[in-house]
Amino acid sequence: MNESIEDYISYYRTMVTIRQFETLAVELFAAGKIPGFIHVSIGQEASAVGVCSCLRVDDYVTTTHRGHGHMIAKGADLKKMMAELFAKKTGYCKGKGGSMHIADFSLGILGANGVVAGGLPIATGAGFSIKMRKTDQVAVCFFGDGAANRGTVHEAMNMASIWKLPIIFVVENNKYASTTPQRYACSVSDICSRAAGYNMPGVAVDGNSLLKVRAAALEAVQRARAGEGPSFIETKTYRLRGHYEGDPQKYRTEAEVEAWKTKKDPVKGFADFLTQNKMLTKELNQQICSDVESELKEAIMFADQSPSPEPEAALEDLFVSYPG
């Protein structure tokens, strides 16, 4: 890994962007600016950035209902994202998708997904397509510990393995599938141990450590690009907010959340690492935070001032061509 200080700072900046984007989204949701419901990944930023920082623009990613972080880490446009959350015409999906259904095919983001584990078969298809087209792209499939128990995972991982597809399965184990604890719902404590059943390497890493996630992802990406097949990474992490905004969270204690917040915050953890290694000064940190803040302020203004879609636009975009 030949990483420059600039690289490290850029990872940090992306983590800060995700954290601030979602913190603001939470506030805007509470203020009634964002309709429907949102799922934020606050506390899981190291997983998104650690993996996506190993990818090229032309690599593919499928994400989940908790996908803001993956989108931003893969380079998504903040204005279009925010406008989509605001249900505006200028959003990524012209207001048809919302938080759970954002995509940017120009960046290889094949979509967030409202169906838990819905992304795995699609990522498998992207991996198949890469192999068929004989490129050295890779496909990353993010999913959660809840998704890990769906049947699609079995079919997708088996297929990826027999065909040696260039796929990295990233299970973000944030301890709770909605309200259901992973320790209750999963037959194993380390989900990565299931990888052995598919004859692919599986590792568990501290999902709140950017560097540890990155190291595992780099190895998996190299393996995939070299045509050696799929890998499985379990990032052990924790979501600091509820499953959705407004979640009463009766399934866990405040003390548990507080402990993760104070001891294992991935953004603060990486900032501390950078500071200790003399890559980040207090001034630079403030600069980064205020730059991100301005950028997001602009995105929010853009979203707020954008028009809603025309009602009749609901009838557009269904088919490429349709007679009559």
Partner: protein, 327 residues
């Protein structure tokens, strides 16, 4: 260009060969495709000509449909073979929640050029889980085009259009019709989706059908002639898009309608079609629209039971007599 007699399977194989020769992004994926050229011999010659583009899979319908979708999103044109249409239930999320919705919910950012090929239909004593006609489920899912050909020439022409279409197409072909012979044009004949065919002109009654229903109508013609009922047969061919112009052209002439399909009656495509006809063509009707369909039970195994459940020629005749008031 001259026609030759081909079976429905040969027509499909010929169309696939021609399309795959033309466009190297097309590939076929599904279970048991290469050992016997597909379970129905429908891919005769494909493996020999395109060994890397016909892919055997594990029994994993979810992943098969998902691979088709993921490949369609990333530059390929998949032809997904679902083995038996009944197995759509094993990939229903991939088809109806993902494939059908991806273009729309992402605001038209992407196309999904995929064909999902579903051998369907009863009459082979294959019982409840290998005999269904499920096309109505997919007509009820915005975002999917639905094609149900009957004759070999339609198979060839429609599969070409389905493959070239940039939207996902559910393509239902009746298993019992695979061996049916018919004249098929040589060369590149694509039949546009959304165009019905008037396959027999008549003045007394419009028989609207598709797939195996078309043959029931055709086989009823002799008896209807004896009853002095001059029937027009409209083969709908595609259910979405639906060619209401051709349907209206026929009904404004005959004023009487019988809809014939093999799927069970309740909630079948005939219900949608009857609703549209009464809404759009009420003033042209001289009798209530009648539907001929399977009875509302799963398809049973015993030949006696299955034959009782499926629509018959006599049902078509009875319905035709009812709408012409010749009881």
């Amino acid at each position: 260009m001259s026609d030759r007699m081909l079976s429905c399977t040969a027509a499909l194989a010929e169309a696939l060969y021609e399309e795959m020769s033309r466009d190297e992004t097309i590939f076929i994926i599904g279970e048991d495709l290469t050992a016997h050229a597909g379970v129905f011999g429908q891919f005769e010659g494909i493996f020999e000509n395109f060994p890397d583009r016909i892919i055997d899979t594990p029994i994993s319908e979810t992943a098969i449909a998902g691979v088709g979708l993921g490949a369609a999103l990333t530059g390929l044109r998949p032809f997904v073979d679902l083995h038996f249409s009944d197995f759509v239930t094993c990939c229903m999320d991939e088809l109806t929640n993902q494939t059908a919705k991806i273009r729309y919910m992402f605001g038209g950012q992407v196309n999904v050029p995929m064909v999902i090929w579903c051998p369907d239909g009863a009459g082979l004593r294959a019982a409840a889980q290998h005999s269904q006609s499920l096309e109505a489920w997919f007509v009820h899912t915005p975002g999917l085009k639905v094609v149900v050909p009957s004759e070999p020439a339609d198979v060839k022409g429609l599969i070409k259009s389905a493959i070239r279409d940039d939207d996902p197409v559910m393509f239902f072909q009746h298993k019992k019709l695979f061996a049916k012979q018919g004249p098929v044009p040589v060369g590149d004949i694509a039949i546009p989706l959304g165009r019905a065919a008037v396959k027999r002109t008549g003045k007394d009654i419009s028989l609207l059908s598709y797939g195996s229903g078309f043959y029931l109508c055709q086989d009823a013609l002799e008896e209807l002639g004896k009853l002095d009922i001059d029937a027009e047969i409209v083969d709908l061919r595609t259910l979405n898009p639906l060619d209401m112009d051709t349907i209206a052209g026929s009904i404004t002439k005959t004023h009487r309608v019988v809809i014939v399909h093999e799927a069970c009656l309740t909630g079948g495509f005939g219900a949608e079609l009857a609703a549209r006809i009464q809404d759009e063509l009420f003033d042209y009707l001289d009798a209530p629209v009648k539907r001929v369909a399977a009875k509302n039970v799963p398809i049973p195994f015993s030949p006696t039971l299955e034959d009782y459940v499926l629509p018959k020629i006599s049902d078509v005749i009875e319905a035709a007599r009812a709408v012409t008031y010749r009881m």
